[in-house]
């Protein structure tokens, strides 16, 4: 780890193919800033991405990275971190990726509390497949596959996280660069699973949940007397479905990461040239 790392060191030389104005630009910049400012460099960082416009983020960043299959980024991240706890692991995905096809993994990643961060670019739409309803789309949001709206309430990922035993839940907005980077930084610094839902508008397919909408409605928790260590307060805020908040909703300061509880100390990448010492005892057990 070197101290002179700049956030641009995390930039790859691949030009993003996102639509001009897409919220994901801001989300990614904040992630890179947060990584650099928390003392990481590309050689000790592993970024795992899902599938979707959001998932392309791994391609535009420079670090050790894997761009996997739809919905399965979290288990990959858990495997990476457990096998080498010295790495900084960040998982990125979209609302469809994380809360639909990967919803099962989301709940279990939260409760497993491995020390990594999970940044979800929530645009309330499927971007890459060109505009179908996502699990966070509004009940009456009309799309190609839901001409009358999905007809079912959106999932509340923060409530899901809280109910699953999350130790860090935050909400961010990609266009508020300063705050966004700060929030992701807090997620990285949290000892455990740092979950950040980022409002990251899709300028092409979502004309409801726009920059203007979020700018007008979002309330920064830093401007309120919200106490993130108070789980009841967090619960109340999270369940206010008509409000959009920015900042850390909940943080459990006593969180101990899974891999620490499991006693994983060293990277698992060292293997001797032959069977490990004492291996013959494994055979003798069967006498």
């Amino acid at each position: 780890m070197s101290s002179d790392v700049r956030f641009t060191d995390f930039k790859s030389d691949k030009q993003p193919t996102w639509c001009p104005g897409c919220g994901d630009f801001g989300t990614m910049n904040g992630m890179m800033k947060a990584l650099a400012e928390t003392g990481n460099d590309p050689d000790n960082t592993f970024v795992v991405a899902g599938i979707g416009c959001s998932g392309k983020i791994g391609t535009y960043m420079h670090s050790y990275a894997l761009h996997g299959v739809h919905g399965r980024a979290l288990p990959v991240g858990i495997g990476v971190k457990m096998a080498n706890p010295e790495l900084e692991v960040m998982v990125a995905g979209g609302d469809g990726d994380g809360y639909s096809i990967g919803a099962g993994h989301f709940i279990h990643a939260v409760r497993r509390n491995v020390d990594m961060s999970y940044v979800v670019m929530d645009n309330r739409i499927y971007g890459l497949t060109k505009g179908q309803a996502s699990p966070t789309s509004r009940e009456d949001f009309e799309t190609a596959t839901t001409p009358d709206g999905p007809g079912q309430p959106p999932v509340n990922p923060k409530a899901l996280a809280l109910a699953s035993g999350a130790t860090f839940i935050a909400q961010s907005f990609s266009s508020n660069a300063q705050r966004h980077a700060e929030i992701v930084k807090q997620a990285i610094e949290h000892d455990g699973f740092g979950f950040v839902n980022v409002y990251s508008p899709c300028v092409t397919f979502n004309d409801v949940d726009t920059y203007d909408y979020f700018r007008d409605s979002i309330v920064d928790l830093a401007d309120t007397d919200h106490d993130p260590s108070n789980r009841d307060q967090a619960k109340d805020k999270i369940l206010e479905s008509d409000k959009e908040y920015m900042g850390v909703l909940y943080q459990d300061d006593s969180s101990v990461p899974f891999e620490e509880r499991e006693g994983i100390e060293a990277p698992m990448n060292d293997v001797p040239d032959g069977a490990p010492e004492g291996a013959m005892d494994l055979v003798r057990e069967f006498y």
């Binding site: 990275a65 761009h67 996997g68 990959v76 096998a83 069977a275």
Partner: protein, 590 residues
């Protein structure tokens, strides 16, 4: 009396059948006798017929046969279930005082020994020990020194305290004395002991042990019969070597976690059975395109769908060979014996890392639940060799950077194998993806790059064909006109079946193939034979199909898909019928 003895204990699931059988099997193994066990069990926890069978001999035994010499029947059904295997010299031990066992009818001239198991167990300190009373009775019948049982009882009950162990030893002796006093005659059995030292283990345990020997540090899985024992074996043991087992939320997570750990540099594995392989299939292509070394173990059971989860089948060959969309370079290795489960697991890890591909380790229920004795040196850890392939460290990484200093994780090397930098390696940072990518791992749809990368990944298989020895094992007469081919767990039954046929004057060559892909070319062997029979535990002959495909010649088949593994004598009979031109083997085994 034949040289070997076939012994079984049967009852309801939940009666402690398994542990009782295992105590006896371990005692035999400790007494220097070879043991081969098999289990009949249903897919339920309590109730339902269960049996644990032990075949034992001073010589090696590698299969089950259709004969039962001693049967401990805890339920009447146990006798009916095994009726066909009993013969006139068989001895049946049961508790005639139990209300459910009053009207037991013993088939043929078999000897019925009524032993008040429950009453004697109560005398020894508790009815729960009635199985152990039966073991004591069996010792007397077979002339097997009861002291051999003591160590097994200590192993089984040691952590429950001295008193429990002593009570069990007493219970065994009560069974022994009862038979000695009430049935004072020679049953004609004699279980000779030797000085040999054996270990007794099953295929799942051998796979787990192989993984540890190979330096596997990360295992993630989701419980499923009959693969769960791999996970249970590793849990608690892998930690001693600095590793971890994670029980994932499903198989999709299991394989993706294992993939993540492998990318972080750990030797990593997951194991499941057919239904779990279906779920994992999604990720096969990612493992291959991201060039991540991963061992994926399929302990097959009877399908399709949930099928018969506790029954034997070799039905997933096509799934492991072809599973996944697109074209996926891979290795498919199938151990043929329990000791092979160990060695092929070690090899699987080396193949995975040398060629940076998924390796399917295909085992089956018959291997998984069967225990067998081996001299401990069969698993000589000094013989284990580890090859991690093209891993580059900080010093070597420069050689693989492009002109802009970027690490070429998917460098199109002539042998198809790129350098591998574990995360944390300075200057090795790189991206990889399931999307088609260039040498830097960046997404591309460029036609030339696509072809280059596909060719490069396929080249690994060609390189492996040149560098590795994907050979077969051979038994019998190499010049015989009849060639029998099989894969997986049938080897033991075939070897013994062919010995039986040999005694009757049949001359047969037997080839056992542990490599499904790449596999040995059998063209010369098939063409040299007059009759070629491929033996496998499935209905359609999946391996026979690939042999026909490779050799461009029709072969005969013996298929068994009734959920039960091949038995040596039954298989010999089938082969005889085939050679005599009698069709209808499938009916014969249904």
């Amino acid at each position: 009396m034949p040289d070997d003895l076939n012994w079984a204990i049967g009852g309801e699931a939940g009666d402690g059948i398994d542990s009782t059988g295992k105590i006896f099997a371990q005692a035999l193994s400790r007494a220097g006798r070879h043991v081969f066990t098999s289990k009949d069990f249903a897919s339920r926890i309590r109730g339902g017929y269960t049996a644990y069978k032990v075949r034992t001999s001073v010589d090696r035994v590698e299969s089950v046969v259709d004969r039962l010499d001693i049967l401990i029947a805890l339920t009447e059904r146990t006798i009916h279930e095994n009726e066909d295997e009993l013969h006139d010299d068989s001895v049946i031990i049961y508790d005639g005082e139990r209300s459910t066992m009053q009207d037991v009818e013993v088939p043929g001239d078999a000897t019925a020994l009524e032993v008040p198991l429950k009453r004697l167990a109560e005398d020894a300190g508790g009815a729960i020990m009635l199985n152990v009373v039966a073991l004591g009775a069996a010792c007397e019948v077979t002339n097997f020194p009861i002291e051999n049982l003591d160590e097994s009882l200590e192993k089984r009950f040691g952590d429950k305290g001295e008193a429990i162990v002593e009570n069990n030893k007493t219970a065994a002796r009560k069974g022994q004395e009862y038979v000695r006093e009430e049935y004072d005659h020679d049953f004609g059995f004699d279980l000779e002991c030797t000085d040999a030292d054996y270990v007794l283990l099953n295929g799942d345990e051998a796979i787990g042990m192989g993984a540890l020997a190979a330096g596997c540090k990360f295992y993630s899985g989701y419980p499923i019969t009959p693969a769960t024992d791999v996970m249970e074996y590793l849990t608690g043991r892998i930690d001693q070597f600095g590793g971890k087992v994670v029980q994932a939320e499903d198989e999709l997570a299991a394989i993706n976690m294992a993939l993540g750990a492998a990318r972080a540099g750990a030797r990593s594995m997951t194991a499941t059975s057919g239904p779990g392989i279906d779920l994992m299939t999604e990720t096969f292509g990612l493992v291959a395109t991201s060039e991540t070394p991963l061992v994926i173990c399929d302990v097959m059971r009877s399908g399709p769908s949930t099928g018969m989860p506790t029954k034997q089948e070799q039905g997933d060959l096509n799934l492991t060979l072809y599973g996944g969309h697109g074209e996926i370079p891979r290795f498919v290795v199938a151990p043929t014996t329990i000791s092979e489960c160990f060695w092929k697991t070690v090899e699987a890890f080396n193949l995975a890392e040398k060629y940076q591909t998924p390796v399917f380790l295909v085992s089956d229920l018959a291997l998984a639940v069967t225990e067998q004795t081996f001299p401990p040196e069969t698993f000589d850890m000094d013989e284990v060799e580890i090859d991690r392939g093209k891993v580059v460290d900080e010093e070597e990484v420069d050689a693989w950077l492009d002109e802009k200093g970027r690490f070429q994780a998917h460098f199109a090397a002539a042998d198809g194998i790129s350098p591998r930098a574990f995360p944390g390696t300075t200057d090795g940072a790189h991206m990889t993806t399931g999307l088609e990518h260039d040498e830097l791992g960046r997404r591309t749809e460029d036609q030339e790059v696509r072809i280059e990368q596909v060719d490069k990944r396929q080249q690994k298989v060609e390189t492996a064909r040149e560098q590795e020895d994907f050979d077969y094992r051979e038994f019998g007469d190499p010049d015989a006109d009849t060639l029998v081919i099989s894969w997986g767990s049938n080897e033991g039954a075939l070897r013994e079946g062919l010995d039986l046929l040999d005694d009757e004057g049949y001359d047969i060559r037997f080839i056992s193939v542990p490599y499904i892909f790449p596999r040995p070319d059998l063209t010369d062997e098939v063409q040299a034979a007059e009759d070629v029979i491929v033996v496998e535990c499935n209905a359609t002959g999946q391996f026979a199909d690939v042999v026909e495909h490779d050799v461009l010649q029709r072969v005969d088949r013996i298929n068994k898909y009734d959920g039960v593994r091949f038995k040596a004598d039954e298989l010999a009979e089938e082969i005889k019928q085939q050679l005599a031109g009698e069709a209808g083997t499938q009916e014969a085994t249904q």
